[in-house]
């Protein structure tokens, strides 16, 4: 009885404090509507506390509630505006008898009218606004969201999208190749452009500014843009291919970012870049600018690991992927599986599907808790960057598929025979592997042999394999699936 929602009326609105469950934020028999936004949180209650009450508190604080009863609710259609926690499941392998304290998956439904159309800022102010600091939860993590079609249709989505990006670049049927200019800090504009030219002429499609290269004392932004675009155009003439360099326009103000973006456009750049740290509203503004100016918009996920990496608190990166596809970026770094940065293969598959699918089915093993219809929103190209090299090409192509930018920074610039040779090694490895895959060969197992065969006529690939053959990054991932496939007996 004490758990039941109090009926609307005088008793419900008597001044004082009520449990959130009693205030209407826990409705286990709620029927989810197609137009509802759904969110799934991983909650860690304080020892001995009722997980349903904690779920109701999260629903309450992320929608209409405050800590005490207020009579002004009665001036509104308050039952509609209240978010409803409708399901709480124990998280597998937590709680008694395990090394992890008890956690629960709490599902919450939000009425569409709670949110302003076309505003990631408004959406997130509710969903991750206050609740993560509530004393009532020991730890809280936003695991996934289902965005209704009605709400998606209020967003522009990726400025260019994977399909149009490929058409503009005239590159089809293979992953794109890129590299981040290194060292990321300290090069003068002239020296920096040298690295860009060598990488592109050698065979890469893109070069890239790093996240923290903006306009420092050693190289002001206009110098970088001018030298890089000379390198891009010279490499394009040298190869007959469309080439690009992600010019990072991240700056302290919107006015300054627009100014830098306009300059990039005036120089004929096909792509600009921003960092996640500029904030959701700035990202949306730049996406609108990019759509209006025929520009591909690359997003570096600088800062995300501060809140996405730990399993019990923060938010899962798949939610960032959803929000960024809505916000309108064309590229986002989404993991490599085999490189130096965090990434469990099943989880990364979930991120890639979220960015590229027209319709994503529920898939618990990939961490996708909800079915998601993408309502014809453009696709966002995942970028794999960090500690990858030519010798892993068969693994990269198997795990990540064709729609990805493979970024070999160290794996290009660190090549013993120079940057052009490094780029050539990567391009040959990629084309040899795509050719073999299309021919129906088992590249997962035959991959090393395919690379060695190509290395017989391509000495830069030979040198790359010899240099990096033993380099792997085998660390246990922290963000892993809670659900593993159950082995079935075959008869």
């Amino acid at each position: 009885m004490s758990n039941e929602t109090l009926k609307e009326g005088a008793a419900r609105y008597k001044a004082g404090v009520l449990p959130y469950k009693k205030m209407g934020y826990w409705q286990p028999d709620y029927q989810v509507k197609d137009t509802d936004l759904l969110a799934m949180f991983r909650i860690t209650p304080h020892a001995g506390h009722d997980p349903e009450e904690v779920a109701a508190a999260v629903a309450g604080e992320s929608s209409t509630a405050t800590w005490t009863v207020v009579w002004t609710d009665r001036l509104t259609a308050c039952e509609m505006y209240r978010a409803k926690a409708y399901r709480v499941d124990p998280v597998p392998n937590t709680g008694e008898g395990t090394k992890t304290e008890a956690q629960f998956f709490a599902y919450i439904a939000y009425e569409l009218d709670l949110f302003e159309g076309g505003s990631i800022a408004n959406l997130t102010a509710s969903i991750i606004g206050n609740v993560f600091g509530m004393k009532a939860v020991k730890a809280l993590r936003l695991e996934d969201m289902r965005i209704p079609v009605a709400y998606l249709k209020t967003f522009q989505g990726p400025a260019t999208g994977v399909i149009v990006e490929r058409e503009r670049l005239d590159k089809f049927g293979r992953p794109l190749l890129g590299a981040t200019t290194k060292p990321k800090l300290g090069l003068s504009g002239r020296n920096y452009g040298r690295v860009v030219y060598e990488g592109l002429k050698g065979g890469l499609d893109f070069m890239k500014d790093d996240e923290n290269i903006n306009s420092q004392a050693f190289m002001h932004w206009r110098d970088r843009f001018l030298y890089c675009m000379d390198a891009v155009n010279k490499a394009s003439a040298a190869t007959g291919e469309v080439k690009g360099h992600y010019l990072n326009v991240t700056a302290g103000t919107m006015e300054e970012m627009y100014k830098r973006a306009e300059f990039a456009k005036s120089l004929g750049s096909v792509i600009i870049m921003i960092d996640l740290v500029i904030g959701y509203t700035a990202i949306q503004s730049m996406a609108i600018w990019a759509r209006q100016n025929d520009m591909i918009l690359h997003l570096h996920r600088a800062g995300n690991s501060t809140y996405s990496r730990q399993k019990n608190h923060g938010m899962n990166f798949r939610v960032i992927c959803k929000w960024m596809r809505m916000a309108g970026v064309d590229h986002i770094h989404a993991g490599t599986v085999v490189g130096k940065l965090e990434g469990d293969p099943a989880m990364i598959k979930g991120f890639y599907d979220t960015l590229l699918d027209d319709h994503t089915p529920q898939n618990l093993e990939h961490g996708l808790f909800f079915e998601q219809d993408w309502a014809s929103l453009n696709k966002c190209m995942p970028v794999a960057s960090g500690g990858i090299h030519a010798g892993q090409m068969h693994q990269l192509l198997t795990y990540l598929g064709d729609d990805v930018v493979l970024q070999f920074g160290g794996g290009t610039i660190g090549h013993p025979d120079g940057i052009q040779a490094g780029a050539q090694a990567n391009r040959v490895a990629l084309e040899a592997m795509v050719l073999a895959r299309n021919e129906g060969r088992d590249i997962w197992n035959e991959g090393p042999q395919i690379l060695l065969d190509a290395a017989k006529w391509c000495s830069p690939l030979r040198a790359a394999i010899d240099t990096w053959k033993d380099i792997t990054f085998n660390y246990e991932s922290t963000d892993t699936a809670d659900f593993v496939p159950t082995a079935t007996t075959s008869f």
Binding site: D170, F172, L226, A237, A238, T239, G240, V428, L435
Partner: protein, 144 residues
């Protein structure tokens, strides 16, 4: 003479590999057919990186499901335009793609002079770039 690693125009999926044999092309045609994609053959003597519309050697072969028949069209094109760039493309009509899905060069001129970069000095230190194909100084059909 082009001075990039291969000394040739590197558009398409497989320009960094040795020229594809007919047997290798057949396997790629089979791959496209297995995906339900229509193949087309296109040729040009203007390989500018932003020259999107190469001439069609007939429309995409939506109804031809035999890789040997498609290869015959490729070889007909090679016979007709032995010194042109010829590319094979595949098209997907699936909603969400509706765009080319493959593109690879199967024939090229014996000599590829490449491109010059024309720099027009503009205001301040700005430069306006034009990528100029040496071959297109001559009329169509007389370039290679």
């Amino acid at each position: 003479m082009m001075t990039n690693p291969n000394g040739i125009v590197t558009q398409g999926q497989f320009s960094f590999l040795p020229p594809l044999t007919d047997e290798q092309i057949t396997k790629q045609l089979k791959y496209a057919l297995s995906k339900g994609w229509a193949t087309s053959v296109e040729y040009t003597d203007d390989p500018h990186p932003r020259n999107t519309y190469w001439e069609m050697f007939g429309p995409p072969m939506f109804d031809l499901k035999d890789p040997a028949g498609i290869l015959m069209e490729i070889n007909n094109c090679r016979k007709t335009f032995p010194n042109h760039y010829i590319r094979v493309m595949a098209f997907s009509s699936v909603r969400g793609v509706e765009s080319p899905t493959m593109s690879y060069i199967v024939n090229r001129p014996k000599n590829e002079p490449g491109f010059g970069l024309v720099r027009q000095e503009a205001d301040g230190r700005n430069i306006r770039y034009t990528i100029h194909s040496y071959a297109t100084d001559k009329p169509e059909g007389e370039r290679y």
